[in-house]
Subunit: 224 residues, 2 copies
Amino acid sequence: MPAPTPAPSASPVRRRAGRPTAAILDQDGITTAALELISSKGYDGLTMAALARTLGVAPSALYNHVSSKDDVLVLLEDHLAAMVDVSAFGSEPWEEAVRKWAWSYRDVFSEHTPLIPIIAVLPVANAPKTLAMYEAVTAGFRDAGFPEEKIISAIVAIEAFVFGAAYDVTAPADIFDAGTLADQVPNFTAAVDRLALEQHERPTDVAFSLGLEALITGFGALRG
Amino acid sequence: MPAPTPAPSASPVRRRAGRPTAAILDQDGITTAALELISSKGYDGLTMAALARTLGVAPSALYNHVSSKDDVLVLLEDHLAAMVDVSAFGSEPWEEAVRKWAWSYRDVFSEHTPLIPIIAVLPVANAPKTLAMYEAVTAGFRDAGFPEEKIISAIVAIEAFVFGAAYDVTAPADIFDAGTLADQVPNFTAAVDRLALEQHERPTDVAFSLGLEALITGFGALRG
DNA sequence: ACCAATAAATGAATGGCATTCATTTATATC
DNA sequence: GATATAAATGAATGCCATTCATTTATTGGT
């Protein structure tokens, strides 16, 4: 069996310092490599050293293209925002568009919860694709007759729910097992058992659906 | 002016190694010291070394009482859960009880967002006070006529919203300023401007109220 | 065609961090 | 009184992000 052709990005070639013919690194390449690394080693494996190794460069070289590791996380966040499905706004009824948007938003970020603290406080001016998502959603709300002064608040509320629910997806299945304390919390234990008994969908999906439909119904009533 | 009596916890006395008359450290003391440290230096200042310094011990001494820094965060989380107001369950109408619980929950954790990734996936068996909160809320839902098999899902949904909203509180005021990209996102920019114009409450509070009332209304309809 | 400025890489620090471990010793237990 | 144990010390360890002086190929100006 012949050795597989090594990926150019992982080339172990000892390069000399100095300006190369073409730049090896750029923000897109860093983003892609970071995504690969995360999918193979998880966020614990995402270190500047590991990222550099994936790209076949010295760690310090990264700092010519990003100002910090947080900057890498912002690049990731913006990349992922572009994967959120806003296509139903403008082509489907408002309720269904919101539903698709929220589910897809949750699904994308449930695999990337370490980015949530970043995105939740990130000024949109630093994240063009994220901003594009907001534009599409805002237009969808406006066209559906939503009063303009309430659009941002409604989006922020749905987003808050989405981020919290994204964490929920990653929780262990037995998170609500009270263990030895079970007899001290009878109502809670009974409710947990009852859910397990009568519900065969993923509990996290049931909760998300329940909350999202309440938000859609409640906000839908605001439309003129 | 006489020198103030130094807090025993901050005593700089050079202690000899070995078992003291009474243990200096325990989990309560560690929790209290961690809260002090956070309120003075923030979560960035919460290091095992700084925590040990606050308590007047060597960093390694902490590991006789907690197994890791994450363990400290769990102690903090559980301490804070006990500060969440569940008192209205049983004494006030369900809607009002949920409202008070959710606002208080959000307010407590908005000052402690670095704990959210911990609590969101923390098995309740490791957090007795958190469990007690769930018990009170569950009983409140049951007594209000909520179908038992939906109680946990509803709580999980509200909690997701609360956690997301807690992050939102910490966001910078100009988070939605699109800057130079403003002309590329006209609908979004218009909606942001309109909100700023017509709304004088804290935007984060407006969004929280909007979402929470929708959830309360939606879930209220599930009661028998 | 040269020359200066620049972009983009290297690799060797640096300082901070959580955590581990061998050691010490006062107290509690048999 | 001997022994085991709990709870402290302080010195390592290894990982991490980040900085800095240095190198050098390319670009743009004269």
